[in-house]
Symmetry: C2
C-alpha cells in the first residue's frame, strides 16, 4: 500500500510500504476513506520536533473495516468507522473515567504498540487498528459521502475543540473567548456555541477564518492581540473579562492572552500542545482563574457528538478547505505550513502517481 | 481600646489605640467577641514578609454591633455578626459572580480603605466595618457561647477549606487527598466529607491533628511525604491516584505533592498562599489535571454553612486548640509559630494586663 512518511525538515513523501496484517485477535484492518493533516504534524515538518529517521505520520482517519481478529465483537467487516487520534481499550480505569487518551493499555498511531508491533499512521491506504472494539466507533450504515469531512473531524479537531470548551466549563449564557483560529479553535467556537454560550468572541485576523467562526456561532471577532487584544475584550465585557476562555494554540503568548482576558473566577480550558510556558501559580491564585486541559479524549465524547453530525446539526467538516489525493501529501503539508489552508483532507483512494 | 500591633520579626504587642468611629453612612462599629490568629499572620511574624512600621494585624472576628451608619439597613445594633476576612459590598460584578474576596470596592482588614481611612484588624476590642450591609452576616439572635469558635471559623478557615474542596470539584463518592494539616487543611477534610467524598486521605504527621482529621471524616492518614507519600497514595488508590486534591499549604513542595497524587483527569483545588512555585504547563497538559483556587470568597458561602454550624452539624471550631485573652497575644503567636497550637482564639473582653 501507499502511506506517508516524514523524512525530515519539510520533506514528506507518499511511498510504497508493506500492507499491515492482523497481529492479535483484537486487531482490525481498516481501509482508509479519508485522512488529514493536523496542526501538530507541522511541528516535525517544520523541524521544531526532530525527526531521526524516516517515519510514518498521521493520526486522523475514517474508513471501512476489511478484516477483524477473532476477538473483535463490536465491529464487523464492512462497518464504516471513525478512529480517534489514538487507540484505547475503553475498559481500563482511565478510559472508564472519561480519559481514554490516557488509556493504560493504549497508544498513539505511527509508533510501536506495547507488544512492539507498529501501528500505522492513518495518512495511508490501510491501518492496523489495535484494540479495535475499544478504539473504533461504527456509524449505523455507510454514511452519505457529503458527511465524510464532518465524520473525519470527530477523529480529532472537533473532539479537541469540545474538550477545550468542557475544560473551560462552558455553560448556558456564558461569555466565551476563543484564542486561536486554527481548525481546533474554530471547532472550539462551534463547541462553545453548542454548549449554550451566550456570547462567543473569536480572536482572528484572517477574513475567511473570521467568516467560518461567525458561521460556527461567534458573535464577536477581535483582531487585536497582546495588550490591545486584552483591552478590546475588557471593553466587550464591561471591564470584567470573559467567563470562559479556550486556549487553542499552545504558545506562551496564547496562554498569557487567555489568562489575561478571563474574569476573576473564570476558567481557561487549554488544548494547544504547550511549547514553552512556565506559569507563576500566584497569578492563578490572585485571580481565582482555573486552568484545565490537555490531550482530548475524543473517543469518550464521540458517541455524544456523532448523532448530531449524522443528522447534519453539527458541521465541523467545514474546517477542511482543501482536499487532495494521498499522492499529493507534500502539497498538503506545504499548504498548511504556508497557511494557505486551514486543514487539508487526504483521499487515499485517489490514484497515486507512481 | 486595645488592639494588636506587629512591630517586626517576632515582635507583637497588644496596645492602646484610638477607638474607631463611624466614618461613612455604610459603616458599622462591632465590639469583638472573639478573634484569632491566622497561619498567614505568621508570614510577617516570622519576617518572611517585611514589616516596615508597627501596624495593626488580624482579619477574623465575630462580635456584636454597637453602632451603625444611617445607610445601614440589613444589620442592626445588637446583632451578633460574623465578618469575613475582608470587607465587600456584595453588589458588584465580582461579588454577584460569587467572588466577593475580589470585590471591586472592597478591601482587607488592617489596611486603608479606598477613601484612605483605616479599617481595623480584628485582633482588637472594636472594629470599624466598611460596607456593613455587604460585609457582615448576622445570626438569628445571640448564639450560645459554645458555638463561638464554630462561628468564628466561618470568618476564614472553614470557608477557605470549603473553597479548596469546591475548587477541586469534590463530589459524591470521590477519593480526596488533603495536603496540609493546619487549620485550613483540617477544615478541608471537613468540607470534603460534607460534600460527600467517599474517601478522604489526610496527609499528616502530628498525632493530635491526625485525630481531629479522623473526627472530621478522614478515612485514611498518610504520614509519608515526597516520593514516599506519592507512593503511599498510589497504593491506596489502586495505582490510579486521587480524584481530587486539596492543596492547603502554599509551598512548592505541597503543590508538587498535590499534582503528583492526582489521577489523570483529576483536579487540584489550592488555597495555600503560593510562596514561590513556577509550574510547567506541560505538566498539567500531560495529565489533564486541572488547577483552580485562590483567595476564598467566604462571605458568599457563609449563608450556606451558617445554618449547619447553628444546628451543630458542622463543628469547624474544633480547630481552635488554645484560647487566650487579647493581652496575651504574644503567646498566641508564639504557640502557633512553635506549632504548639493549631489555631489560637483570642478573647478581647478578657481583662488586659496594663
Amino acid at each position: 500500500m501507499h502511506a506517508t512518511l516524514i523524512y525530515g525538515d519539510h520533506d514528506i513523501r507518499a511511498e510504497e510500504v508493506p500492507d499491515p496484517i492482523l497481529l492479535t485477535g483484537d486487531d482490525a484492518i481498516v481501509r482508509v476513506v479519508a485522512a488529514c493533516v493536523c496542526g501538530s504534524d507541522l511541528w516535525p515538518y517544520r523541524g521544531v520536533d526532530a525527526v531521526r529517521a524516516p517515519r510514518r505520520i498521521g493520526h486522523e482517519f475514517v474508513g471501512v473495516v476489511e478484516q477483524i481478529g477473532p476477538k473483535v465483537s463490536k465491529i464487523a467487516v464492512g462497518d464504516f468507522v471513525i478512529a480517534p487520534f489514538y487507540y484505547c481499550d475503553m475498559t481500563c480505569a482511565n478510559c472508564l473515567y472519561g480519559y481514554s487518551a490516557y488509556c493504560l493499555n493504549g497508544g498513539f498511531w505511527g509508533t510501536d504498540d506495547r507488544q512492539g508491533a507498529f501501528a500505522d499512521g492513518g495518512q495511508g491506504e490501510l491501518v492496523r487498528v489495535p484494540m479495535a472494539d475499544g478504539t473504533l466507533v461504527a456509524t449505523p450504515g455507510i454514511p452519505d459521502a457529503a458527511l465524510i469531512p464532518d465524520l473525519l473531524a470527530l477523529s480529532d479537531v472537533m473532539g479537541t475543540g469540545h474538550h477545550a470548551a468542557l475544560s473551560a466549563g462552558v455553560g448556558r449564557g456564558d461569555t466565551v473567548v476563543v484564542v486561536g483560529d486554527g481548525a481546533v479553535g474554530l471547532c472550539g467556537v462551534l463547541a462553545a456555541t453548542r454548549l449554550g454560550a451566550g456570547r462567543v468572541i473569536a480572536m482572528s485576523r484572517t477574513p475567511q477564518r473570521q467568516q467560518l467562526a461567525r458561521d460556527f456561532g461567534a458573535t464577536d471577532i477581535v483582531e487585536e492581540r497582546g495588550d490591545e487584544g486584552v483591552e478590546r475584550i475588557r471593553e466587550l465585557t464591561g471591564g470584567i473579562g470573559a467567563d470562559r476562555v479556550l486556549e487553542c494554540v499552545g504558545t506562551e503568548e496564547a496562554m498569557d492572552q487567555s489568562l489575561r482576558v478571563a474574569r476573576v473566577g473564570g476558567q481557561v480550558g487549554f488544548v494547544g500542545v504547550p511549547h514553552g510556558a512556565d506559569l507563576r501559580i500566584g497569578r492563578l491564585f490572585r485571580s481565582n482563574v482555573g486552568l484545565r486541559g490537555g490531550v482530548a479524549s475524543v473517543r469518550n465524547t464521540m458517541p455524544e457528538l456523532l448523532p448530531e453530525v449524522l443528522d447534519g446539526r453539527l458541521r465541523p467538516g467545514r474546517v477542511f478547505d482543501l482536499e487532495l489525493p494521498l499522492a499529493e501529501v507534500p502539497e498538503a503539508y506545504r499548504a498548511m505550513d504556508e497557511r494557505r489552508a486551514t486543514k487539508v483532507l487526504l483521499r487515499p483512494e485517489a490514484p497515486l502517481s507512481r
